[in-house]
Structure formats: C-alpha cells, structure tokens
Amino acid sequence: MIEVKDVTKKYANITAVNDINFSVKDGEIVGFLGPNGAGKTTTMNMITGFIEPTEGQIIVNGYDISKKSKKAKKQIGYMPEGVPLYTEFTVKEFVNYMAELKLLKGEQKKNDVKKVIEETGLTSVENKLIRNLSRGYKQRVGLAGALVGNPAVIILDEPTVGLDPKQITEIRSLIKELGKNHTVILSSHILSEVSQICERVIIINKGKIVAVDTPENLEKKTKEKNTLIVTVEDPKGNMETLKEKVRQIEEVKLLKDNQDNTKQYSITSNEKVDLRKILFEVLPKEEITIFELKKNEVTLEDAFLKLIDLDKSQEQTNEENKTNKENKKEKKEIKEENKKEKREAKEKDKKEKQQKKEQKKRLKEESKKEKGGKK
C-alpha cells in the first residue's frame, strides 16, 4: 500500500508537483498518465526516495520514505526513466549487483537472480555484456533489476518506450503477470497501454492530479453525447436538410468526401436517444443509401484530452475572477473583451502549434515504423 499525502515539489521557479494526494492498494496496477513534463517522473522519484518532496509525506507499506527510508526502499523495485544500467557488466553480473544492493545474500541471492533472469527471458543472453544488447533486451535487464528480491511494490517509469510492437506486448503481459503478486505503478503517455494494463488511472497535468478512476469510468464520465458515424451515398444532397426533418438530431457534420461518391457524416444527438433505428427508417425515404453505420466510442484518448482541456479552462476562469475583482466595473468590460480576444488568439496559436507538433510526431513515428519494417 502506498499513500501519497499532500505532496509538493518545488524547484527554484517551478512547482513540478503541486499538492497531490492518492493511495494505491496492495496488488493494484495503477497507471500514471500525463503529457510530457506533467510531473510523472518527479512523483515516481519521490515515491522511490530518490528525491525528497518539499512538503508532504509518502508512506510505502507503512514506512515513511524519508524517515524510515531503508525499510521503505526495501519494499520497492524501481526501473527509472531511460533504463540506466551498468553497461560494462554482463546481464548476470548486473542483476547480481542489484540483488546485493537490495541486501540479498548467499543461496537466496543466487536463486532470486536465476529466477528473475528466467522470468524476464534473459537466460540466452545472461553472459553477454549489457553494452552489446539491443534496446529491448536492455529494457528487460532494467526490469530484472527492479524485480530481483521480490519487492512488494514495483515502479516502472515508461517501461515500453523504444520497444518494437512485439516486445511491447511481451512486456505488457509480463507487467500484467506481475500485477497478480505485486503492487505496480507505471507511467506512460501511451493511453491505450494504460487502458489495457491498468486497473486504475491517475491523470496528471502540470503537477496536479486531474482525475483518478478506472479507464472505463473515465471514458463514461467524459462522454456527453451520442455520436454516430454514417457513410452514405447521397445523390440528391438530402443529408444537409436531415436536421430539419428529424427533431432528435442536434448536429450533422460532413467528415469525409470519399472518391467513390460516398460521404461520411457524423450525426450527434442527445445522450438518451438512440438514433440508429430512426436513421434506418428515415434515410431510405430520402433516397440515401447507408453503406456503413457505427457508434463513435469515446476513447480514453478523448477523455484525457478533455480532462486536460477542462483543467486549462478552469485555470482561465480562476484568472478571470481574480482580474475582475481588481478592476473597476467600468473598465472591466473593455478589458475583458480585449483579454478574451488575446486569449482566443493565443489559444488558436497554441492549438495550431499542437496540431503541427502532432502531425510531425505522427510522420516521424510512421517513418520509424517503415524503417523498422524494412529492417
């Protein structure tokens, strides 16, 4: 059991982690989710006792990490970000050293090292220098180092970064397996990963916890409206007037104009209404042929983005409130308008930048994948 109470970490000018509270039960797999620089690694470093929180308390299995650090650290196996390893050692030597650092001795040490090397599938390379191993194997060596000594709590910082798809699935299933006997905390910015492995998700943004819940609940929570995606052939252009004919429809939006005369629309209605039946009845009457009809599921990705957006907008309203109090009523309106305009412009800029970044990322990833495929 891990309890994080009112923990804050401040640096000279930045508050990296701001007053976070959560607890992790025994045997739970919990995922830390957040954009880059959200404070995931800082939080993990504080739980493992690598850095000390400016304020607050962290208790691991009943031991305070800063007061009874030796006992608390004994409960934890940590694989830090970037998987640091002593590359001049062989796999076996490294795992052996990690076991010694964790106060294991004699027969128990031998058995544990052997067991962990087998568990992580490193037996075939156990006498190779770590320096000469591929990225995927290095990751496993790091994992083996964290697992040795059978610690009750395992903390993994971005365990699947830089692995190929096959290795990712392997590591994931290994983590799931670990979750049966250990408490696992892992961080990731890959959402599908977290929703697959974790029982509970903690979303962090800008050093604050935005949400703590199961992946399913998060998806439900952020779902407001029913959206259907339909692909239709519509020679007479009746889709545009559909909204006027069916009352329950709130919005009809053209998504894609396919080359083969079909078009893809998203149709939104209130949450309680199921449009599928109605559409099947109405569309043929309008001489529209349905090619495809599917529900648009809210993914964890949407939930995540939405929660972070909410966080931003809350901050903004707070700021507005502050400025309102300070300003006199007459000046207020003008200033607000100006500020809103500026903000909107800024937001637009930000969004555009983000979109560009994402596009670049995608392109990079795709090219990487292609390269990987060629190899």
Binding site: T48, G49, K73, I76, G82, P84, T87, E88, E100
Partner: protein
C-alpha cells in the same frame, strides 16, 4: 558497503581506468628511478615514493576519482544506487575504499623496484613500508577530495580538471598550504611516522568524505 565496494573495484578493471592508473604510476616511478637511483646511484626508496607522490598523484588521482559520482549521475545509474536500501554513507565509503584498494594494488607493483635493489643491497624494508604507508595516506586524502569534486558535477572531465587544480595549486602558491598534502608527507619518506602528519592527513580525508556525504544528501532535496 561491501556490495558497492566489490562492484566499484570490479569496474576499475572492467574499464581501462585501473590499468591506466597502474601504467601511469609505473611510468612515473620508473622515470624517477631512472633519474635518481640509476643515474646517480641515490639509494633511497623514500625519495622515490616522495617524488612519485608529488608528481604522479596529480595525474593518477583525477583518473581514479573523476568517475566516482559523475559517471553514475550522467548515466542515471545514480538512481539505482540511491533508491536501493543502502545509505549514502555506505555508498560513499564503498567507493572510497574501492579506490583505496586500487592504490594498494598500485603500490604492490612498486615492490618490483625494491626487489631490483635487493640484487645489490637490500634497502631497509621497514623504512620502505613506512614510506608506502605515507604514500597510501596521501593518496587516500587526495581521493576523498577527488570524490567530493566528482559529486558536484556530472561531467567527468570537469571533475578531473578541478581535482587536478585542487591538488596542484596549494603546493604552487603556498597560500593554501593547509590544503597541500605534500606538507604532510615530509617525514614518512625517511621512515618516521609523525603523529602530526598522520592526523592532518586523516582529518583532510574525513573532511572531504563528510563533504561528499553532505552533498549527496543535500542533492536529494535540491534535485
């Protein structure tokens, strides 16, 4: 402490550092042997150790101590070390004694020259051993200073250069003569164990080991 000690000692010989240190020591020791004993027949083991300490340690110590913490910090393995259930004192002492052991190994090589001299007329063994003991203490003190500097940075080159400066400047200017280790290696070479010298070397050592521990502790909350 023993786990860290064992690993560090092993690391010295898995990387070229251990061999380079031994090589540099033997080179300088041989050079001085050539210049004094060989050329002029000066029959004084103490002088050999004194001169090697004065010039050789300036090079050997930075090589040995630069990696102590800087390398671990740079590669991130510091995280593995500091999140393990080992105290910082254990880690610092483990590293310190590993480096000390390397110096002892290096000193063992210098006995070759004692053996060579034995062919002609055996030098006084006790005097030689005392000179070696003094050399060891000076080297240990220098290592503690180097280790302290290594704990301040993550760049090994910077650590090495600063260590060199810290060892070299005090002897040069006389302004910081309290920090000049060679001041405490005046009587050892002639086979005399002076309490003043021993205590001042031990104090120097202790001070920098404590500094290192304090720096490592403090970094926890600054980092």
């Amino acid at each position: 402490m023993f786990a860290v000690y064992k690993k560090e000692l092993k690391s010295y010989f898995l990387s070229p550092i251990g061999y380079i240190a031994i090589g540099v020591f033997l080179f300088i020791f041989s050079l001085i042997f050539l210049l004094t004993t060989f050329n002029y027949g000066i029959y004084d083991m103490g002088n050999l150790y004194y001169s090697t300490a004065a010039y050789g340690l300036l090079i050997i110590i930075p090589i040995i101590s630069m990696r102590a913490f800087a390398e671990e910090r740079k590669s991130g393995t510091e995280q593995l070390l500091l999140t393990s259930p080992r105290s910082i004192t254990e880690v610092v002492l483990g590293k310190f004694f590993a480096a000390t052991t390397l110096i002892i190994i290096i000193l063992a090589f210098s006995l070759i020259y004692y053996a060579i001299l034995c062919f002609f007329k055996a030098p006084n063994l006790v005097t030689t051993l005392i000179a070696m003991l003094g050399f060891l203490l000076v080297a240990m003190a220098a290592i503690s200073a180097g280790m302290f500097i290594s704990s301040l940075t993550e760049n090994q080159i910077i650590a090495a250069v600063l260590t060199f400066v810290l060892l070299f400047i005090p002897g040069l200017t006389g302004m910081f003569s309290a920090l000049d280790l060679m001041n405490s290696y005046q009587k050892f070479p002639s086979g005399i164990i002076s309490l003043t010298e021993v205590i001042s070397l031990l104090a120097y050592m202790l001070m920098f080991i404590l500094f290192t521990i304090i720096i490592m502790q403090r970094r926890k909350s600054i980092k």
